[in-house]
Symmetry: C2
Subunit: 334 residues, 2 copies
């Protein structure tokens, strides 16, 4: 019997709460909770915040230092934001207390391409404190990087990799539907793009990780973003989209070498997408076409990835790791 | 630039030659070749044996000691048989020379369930000689263990796992078509089953590996084997199967706990199977259905797995590892 994992939940928004709830269901001992932003959560029992029928005896706090000093945790589940620059001070603090981290910060999933200095600094601090840092999630973290890479194991040669994620966003939570611009006019959509609040973060990171995994040196990575325009009225439980409005977003990431597009990631999330699925296409020896029928529910999967990776991260050597460095992550009981 | 891998090819049958040919294509330096059985290969240049337009300056030898002593290899590609008992002396010898091993011996892919003493002994010898030993291939090694496990990473809970591999064997080589009993009468088929020569080896190993990866303790693992009976005449380039004869084999492996079937592996290889595909079905949160359209060509994929795993094995800590312990294996250039 392996020892119970002791975990702190850092960040108690929808994803953080989903992670903590799953951790609790899976028998991980929650020994601390840090909230940022929403002060109304401070002082409440974590069990109440998670909507479970049990008081956990863990009081949600906005004092990260106090929680980290007292909890003697094996790992911090860190779900506070997408921007690596923004979360770096939080990560540095956690590492300073000698605690491993499983984050879902998208830019941390594979930061070596876009933010190499910051990546090196995190790796240095992690090693100095003998802790391991990983960021994972459904995307980046699995569907558009780890999974395509894993499928190439049966290939003798790979020339191109394409991953496609098409999601009907109607079953997702309201913040996600808003985030993809559903119900916006096209002008509003463009303003959100310009403000940087609409974009799904992670395509560049996934492309860089695939390239590293295949031993490819890319010349250029590009990303495009555009609205999926509704042709007829479509509604979710929260939002009604009129024809001509944005039903969601379509983003394409591309990795080039010598002018040739070697990696293509197509991400589309919209209300009423005709069919949800995830797919990997490999051009190589042999060609491959692999499909997850019905797609993958993002919130469920991101919480799963974080919790499923916990023991691997605790057992890994110190440093900043990415999913391609970690032994196989599976849904391990207990 | 990472250093070139120096490899010995041990076993020069169809799979061994496919591995060595791919290794050569991928820039791995072949520094020795050991053949067993077929003495007509001894003394020939390995390049000639591989059917490539280049003499490699590597003379195929039946003296494993001499090759291992001289070659200073980083890794041995070991493709000589399915039975762990049979190949154990070869493995022990290779380890004694301090060389890492990537084998494709099916029973070595996950030997801890069926042959725990032998597994422990190999692990002990590997550690004593500071080498790493792995067995991999398409199946066992990927389609019915590593891949299903990898897909559960996005699951919050897993109740059951099923993997299906349906292959039209017509594009495969003649020995494979013979091995699955294509063209046998049902009596002949049964005699081959009774003699133990017809069976695809590895279902039990894959089941044990999935269980270990999910943290499940199974009570029982069973395997069944039966002919796929041809309903109409079907032909490959080599064999014609008449109606009522065996067109191939169907094997089902099952893993039970508390009387419940938690893991099911269905393997079918026959001439003229209506559709080749590989699939993983997970019953859990969420349910998953993942399909490799057109299936996976076994010979191509097994050679790929062995070569793709080489650097991971060289870099791994000493001992007997399985695919679930290794960092992600991908089709890495160079």
């Amino acid at each position: 019997m392996t020892q119970k994992i002791r975990a702190i939940q850092y960040g108690c928004g929808p994803i953080g709460c989903a992670v903590a709830r799953l951790a609790w269901q899976r028998g991980i001992e929650l020994v601390g909770a840090v909230v940022r932003g929403d002060k109304t959560k401070v002082g409440r029992d974590l069990g109440e915040l998670l909507g479970i029928d049990e008081r956990l005896g863990v009081i949600v706090s906005d004092d990260a230092d106090a929680v980290l000093a007292q909890a003697k945790a094996d790992v911090v589940f860190h779900q506070t934001g997408s921007s690596l620059t923004a979360v770096f001070p939080q990560l540095a603090k956690i590492m300073g207390f000698g605690v491993n981290i499983v984050s879902s910060t998208e830019e941390l999933a594979y930061p070596f391409q876009k933010q190499p200095e910051l990546a090196a600094e995190i790796d240095r601090i992690a090693k100095a404190n003998k802790v391991t840092v990983l960021s994972t999630g459904v995307n980046p973290g699995f569907l558009m990087d780890t999974w395509p890479l894993a499928m190439t194991a049966v290939c003798q040669a790979v020339k191109k990799v394409k991953a496609v994620r098409i999601q009907d966003a109607r079953p997702r939570r309201l913040p996600f539907q808003k985030k993809i611009g559903a119900g916006c006019t096209l002008d509003e959509f463009q303003r959100l793009v310009d403000a940087g609040t609409l974009k799904h973060v992670g395509l560049s990171e996934s492309i860089a990780m695939i390239a590293a995994g295949l031993g490819w040196e890319l010349d250029e990575i590009t990303e495009s973003i555009e609205p999926v325009v509704a042709r007829e009225r479509v509604s979710s439980d929260y939002i009604t989209v009129e024809p001509g409005q944005a039903a969601g977003v379509r983003q394409v990431g591309r990795g080039f070498k010598g002018g040739e597009e070697l990696i293509t990631l197509e991400f589309e999330a919209s209300l009423g997408a005709p069919e949800s699925y995830d797919a990997v296409y490999v051009t190589g020896t042999p060609n491959m076409e692999v499909v997850i029928k019905g797609g993958t529910h993002g919130d469920i999967a991101t919480a799963a990835m974080v919790v499923n990776a916990a023991r691997r991260v605790i057992e890994a050597p110190p440093g900043l790791l990415t999913m391609k460095d970690l032994p196989l992550v599976a849904c391990t009981a207990g």
